[in-house]
């Protein structure tokens, strides 16, 4: 990079600021993400919107207030109802279950009189594939977000982000087909290499499939591509909001562009980035059709290897969706769905804690 390139940075930032001039004021006060700003929202809003005025509105005010509060409650009720009805439908099947729900690798619902289902392997495959996706997508997602906010001129940043956003427009069924028919054979040599030379490590040990295509390894890569736009979109927004004075302060110290990023952008955006990654993780945990098509199922229990096959919670449910007719077997899948719901609940709650406030979905 030439010295000229280094100069482009302050240039870009100042241009961005010029564009945003009209909104500068509320933006700095009410920035949607970041822990510091969340606090300021709650602090600055009440006096400005005036809680004292709300009592004086009469009927219209009360009706409108009721409507908005009610709509807020719809969201709370939705989550509560999802939990409640999944539990209600799952309990009879859990009671009729002849295997240990938490530790059994079986998922046999063919005989309604002898249900044997457990989530051990579903959990293992779900977590392995999603965490692998996260391990790939996090660094790349951060790189893209930095590229779009710190290295690309503003007029190119918009079309570039649109291009990355296009990944989100591709239906997951297409990711699935591409993953198994195109990607899987292409990366088979890499899988072979990892298994040959790193096979002593449990993640790369031989798995429970007779083939090396359509493994958790393949699925993890496909999922990584699918969650990339989610991680990128939110992270980019947070990085773009790095306070200008921090960037300028770093520049004034003679920092290179990378040092500016390390000193100003990354510390500011870290929590937002982690929260965005958690959102991506949540999406990977629940991805259905792509996983159903890409990851092949195995007949023996999981070895906790990336070269295992198997089913995730979501793909297991979808594979059986055509035969949801008897209540007890269906309840077994609803129980699996319930665990998936709890899992994503925890991940999203963590995302919120890390971000110290709300995160964009």
């Amino acid at each position: 990079m030439t010295p000229d390139g280094d100069e482009a940075d302050p240039n870009t930032v100042s241009e961005r600021t010029t564009q945003r001039a009209p909104s500068d004021d509320p933006e700095t006060r009410d920035r949607p993400s970041g822990s510091a700003t969340m606090a300021s929202v709650t602090e600055t809003k009440p006096p400005s919107t005036g809680s004292s005025r709300t009592t004086s509105g009469g009927v219209g005010e009360r009706v409108f207030r009721g409507l908005t509060t009610g709509s807020g409650l719809v969201v709370v009720a939705a989550i509560a109802l999802i939990g409640l009805f999944l539990v209600v439908q799952a309990v009879p099947s859990l009671l009729a279950n002849n295997a240990n729900f938490l530790t059994s690798p079986d998922f046999n619902t063919s005989d309604a009189g002898n249900l044997r289902f457990g989530i051990r392997d579903l959990l293992a495959v779900t977590l392995l594939s999603s965490l692998m996706a996260l391990a790939i997508a996090m660094p790349i997602g951060m790189g893209i977000a930095l590229f779009l906010t710190q290295y690309t001129p503003a007029r190119l940043a918009r079309p570039f982000s649109y291009v990355i956003g296009l990944l989100a427009a591709v239906p997951s069924i297409v990711f699935g087909l591409w993953g198994i028919l195109v990607l899987a054979p292409a990366i088979e040599p890499i899988a072979q290499f990892l298994q040959t030379y790193l096979g002593w490590f449990f993640l790369f040990a031989p798995g429970n499939l007779p083939v090396l295509t359509g493994t958790i390894f393949t699925g993890g890569i496909v999922l990584a591509i699918m969650i990339l736009p989610i991680i990128t979109a939110t992270t980019r927004e947070v990085f773009a909001q790095t306070p200008r004075f921090q960037i300028e302060a770093a520049q004034a110290l003679g920092a290179t562009r990378w040092e500016v990023i390390r000193m100003a952008v990354l510390p500011y955006g870290r929590s937002g980035f982690i929260a965005a990654s958690m959102l991506g993780l949540g999406r990977a945990l629940g991805e259905t059709i792509a996983v159903l098509i890409v990851i092949r199922t195995a007949t023996s229990p999981s070895h906790l290897s990336l070269f295992d096959g198997g089913a995730t919670f979501a793909s297991k449910i979808a594979a059986a969706a055509s035969e949801f007719s008897q209540p007890l077997p269906t309840g077994a899948y609803i129980a699996a769905g319930l665990v998936l719901f709890v899992l994503t609940f925890v991940v999203n709650a963590l995302a919120r804690v890390v971000a110290g406030g709300k995160v964009n979905g």
Binding site: D111, L292, T299, A319
Partner: protein, 356 residues
């Protein structure tokens, strides 16, 4: 904006696809309820599509809405009275038959109307005429035979170049009637050497699962030394060779063809009483007829003998008559199904004409 768009859009679309290959059927008495509702087996969905096309051409203004929601759901919805008939990969069980009789206020009939051959497709360099018998196939799919040059396979395939490679089994990872019927065949034809339950999930304990017939087809095509079971149409379209089967009568290996499957169907025994045509699947899978290909998925239409609403009865009868017409039967081969052979068609016609 979307609403406006949708309205605008609604003005320019149509269901009219005239000029296709579908022809009007002959020998059908049209009439009765205009739109019949049915649901069930996904395995016969494409066959039903062909029948419905012919039905719409034949009986003006009449149609059938068939939902491929799975055999179990199909039977339940028929028993619950939500549908007028069901498509199912299995006949009603005895407790279901009683409930169905209560729903119909007359006995329900199991009519095996659609037969789809199942291919044991394989990917073996230089071998295109692999022969298997029931016992050998069973042992491949339950993991007792693990290499291609196993003596059991070699004995059936003398002079062929069988590699010393491990056999990779591809199976369906989703629940399906194809898996159920295939496992029933393996159990029957091997005198239970297969030894695993014949359910909608694969219980063989070997291999790698893939989603749907297309998934198994792709996996077999892309994995050397692999073998899997798929509907014949998928094997044909992917140009995968299908194993020739030595049926329970011994004799020479039988290739998968419409004629050879028809021979097995014509020889099939019926366990149902009167107009009920519930099949004795053992007689199909263990057929001893020379030249008969034994692995076929038999799927039923489940109907009432006498409908509470005669209009419904008339329409169901008209639809099933259409399905048996040469025009509708002609649509079957392109979907990988086998047209009903004449001798068996006689029995079906008698049963169908008894519906009211």
């Amino acid at each position: 904006m979307i609403a406006a768009g949708a309205l605008l859009f609604s003005a320019c679309g149509s269901d009219n696809n005239s000029g296709g290959s579908t022809q009007q059927a002959t020998g059908v008495t049209c009439g009765g309820k205009q739109a019949l509702k049915a649901s069930g087996s996904t395995a016969q969905a494409n066959a039903i599509t062909g029948f419905v096309n012919t039905f719409e051409q034949t009986c003006n203004g009449q149609t059938v809405n068939y939902t491929a929601s799975g055999s179990g759901a199909g039977r339940n919805e028929f028993i619950g009275g939500q549908t007028d008939f069901a498509g199912s990969d299995a006949a009603l069980k005895s407790d279901e038959a009683q409930k169905a009789q209560a729903r119909c206020a007359s006995p329900a009939l199991n009519l095996p109307l659609v037969f789809g051959p199942i291919a044991i497709a394989y990917n073996l360099q230089g071998v295109t005429d692999l022969a298997l018998d029931g016992a050998t196939a069973a042992k491949i799919f339950n993991g007792q035979i693990t290499t291609w040059n196993d003596p059991a396979i070699a004995a059936l395939n003398q002079g062929k170049n069988l590699p010393a490679a491990p056999i990779i089994v591809n199976f369906r990872s989703d629940d399906s009637g194809t898996t159920q019927n295939f496992q029933t065949y393996l159990n029957a034809a091997s005198n239970n050497a297969y030894g695993k339950p014949s359910t909608q999930t694969f219980n063989g304990g070997v291999g790698a699962g893939a989603r749907g017939s297309q998934g198994v087809t792709d996996a077999t095509k892309n994995t050397p030394n692999s073998i899997g079971y798929i509907e014949a149409s998928f094997a044909q379209k992917a140009q995968l060779p299908a194993a020739q089967i030595i049926n329970a009568g011994g004799g020479s290996p039988v290739a998968l063809s419409t004629d050879n499957v028809a021979k097995a169907i014509d020889a099939v025994q019926v366990t149902g009483q009167g107009n009920d045509l519930t099949l004795d699947l053992n007689s199909l899978y263990k057929t001893t007829t020379p030249g008969a290909y034994p692995i076929a998925l038999a799927t039923y239409e489940i109907v009432c003998t006498k409908y509470a609403d005669p209009q419904t009865g008339t329409a169901v009868k008209a639809f099933l008559q259409t399905a048996l017409s040469p025009q509708a039967q002609g649509t079957l081969t392109s979907g990988g199904y086998v047209p009903i052979p004449d001798a068996f068609k006689q029995r079906l016609t008698t049963s169908i004409n008894s519906i009211s």
